[in-house]
Point group: C2
């Protein structure tokens, strides 16, 4: 179905799509575009892409699909650069972790051709980044959320869904604001909380002693604090309103838990911990079925 796919940003996210597509019986030509010469060279060497392009016009020629997998802050500039060379047959999608902002960028930059844009968010990743971290099976069994607008062409949505099906993913549709509200809660909030915990300990005088005795609980809780700082700055700012609301609700929840402890409310603490552990274990079970 795909003959030529252009990927802006051939790191973990874009590179893993490229590797999955290369396993198809008739893999498309994959063209990589990026701001880093070094990453593009690495992607070529690793066989993620067939060509590295610096000229956008020639990259886009006869492209079926453009995947923007660069940091979200670069999306407006990429859309602006694409626009003059965009044929009516080329569908554009992205892989950003926030969607209201991306849909607004696309509407502003693509004008009449906004109906060729389908916002997307693959729910997969790792704390590692770069072309060397790419894996062909990164998306197998993972959720991908598409956030088409009212004007988006159904065939464009279908094309992007097919791209992700080729990667082994499960595709759902959501409104952009609903997407951002859900991910503020289940992803962006935990990331910020993990960054805050590590920073809280790392800046203390006895940080070395603390880190010496930090063990598996700390390891798992803070794994996401090893994530890419630029990416998470952009996500936090892009999803600011939903995230501020989540931070506020979480602080309230911690204050309520703290009050139970201050009041030696053993039943209250037990009930909270029991309810949370039951919910966590039920969730884990549902994910392995």
């Amino acid at each position: 179905m795909f003959k030529k796919i252009v990927i802006f940003g051939v790191g973990l996210i874009g590179g893993s799509v490229a590797l999955a597509l290369k396993k198809l019986p008739n893999p498309p030509q994959i063209v990589g575009v990026g701001r880093s010469e070094l990453s593009l060279q690495e992607a070529l060497t690793l066989g993620l892409i067939d060509h590295a392009e610096t000229d956008i016009a020639s990259a886009l020629q006869n492209a079926d699909l453009v995947l923007i997998a660069a940091p979200v802050a670069q999306t407006p500039a990429i859309l602006k650069a694409i626009r003059p060379h965009l044929s009516a047959q080329t569908v554009i999608t992205d892989a950003g972790s926030t969607k209201s902002d991306v849909m607004a960028y696309a509407q502003a930059e693509l004008g009449q051709q906004f109906n060729q844009f389908v916002g997307g968010h693959p729910i997969a990743g790792a704390e590692k980044s770069g072309p060397g971290a790419a894996m062909a099976d990164l998306y197998v069994g993972k959720n991908v959320i598409l956030t088409p607008a009212a004007v988006t062409g159904p065939e464009a949505v279908q094309k992007v869904a097919t791209l992700w099906h080729h990667c082994g993913a499960l595709v759902s549709n959501m409104r952009p604001e609903e997407h951002d509200s859900v991910f503020a809660a289940v992803s962006h909030l935990p990331h910020l909380l993990a960054f805050a915990l590590v920073e809280d300990l790392a800046k203390r005088n006895n940080a070395e002693l603390l880190f010496k005795f930090a063990a598996s609980g700390f390891r798992d809780f803070t794994r996401i604090a090893g994530s890419h700082p630029e990416m998470w700055r952009d996500i936090a700012l892009a999803n600011k309103q939903a995230l501020l609301q989540e931070l506020n609700m979480y602080q309230q929840a911690v204050s309520e838990m703290t009050a139970l402890l201050e009041n030696n409310d053993d039943k209250g603490l037990f009930d909270l911990f029991e309810h949370a552990s039951e919910a966590r274990n039920a969730w884990a079970k549902s994910k392995t079925q």
Copy 2:
């Protein structure tokens, strides 16, 4: 060196010590004591213990060492029950996650024989519990902290250190208050924060939708929220003062981070995330060396 060891509470922690000792060339006799008949029967069936005892006097006869590995809240009652049957040759230790409270219990309950007690805390565990979760290699390469008092006999400390060396662990000594302050920061705080996050989401109207799209970041961050509610209620209450201080400092750290976001301080957010991710990744590297 050990001929007879008595373990109160043959779950994950006590059972894993038993399994490690059974691998010695001349394994000691291992006697299990516990409040749950079912757990003791399971420990017998699994071969963790040689005998299950309900009579404390006969359990303690000729015992080299008593390991208290029951929930910390039971420690005073266990010490009280042991005292009348305690010979001068028997050393007592525990495996509780808090140490100031345990040392105070031991001093109160053991009187003159307090010098035979060595507080201990193996830094290992899993979210699973019970005899079936026990593993012979649970403690290999893990830290165990001993918190002897000024009056504790050096030969008692040596005996407990030897027990843990047999399990493959690295043994350090600390003052009880220092131990509790360190573990409030690196263990107890993250556990409470993980419980609070899961509870914060689980009680919402759209919890089902949220949990559907929660992925690997949420999984790791909340793994410790699947922990034993009774154990964590006891730990929280036992280490209340240090934990309240940690909760307070953490909420301040989150408030400062929230202010950066409110003010669109992109540099401030980037610096915080970068510093935290560097600290987290350096820590992870240090742990694998």
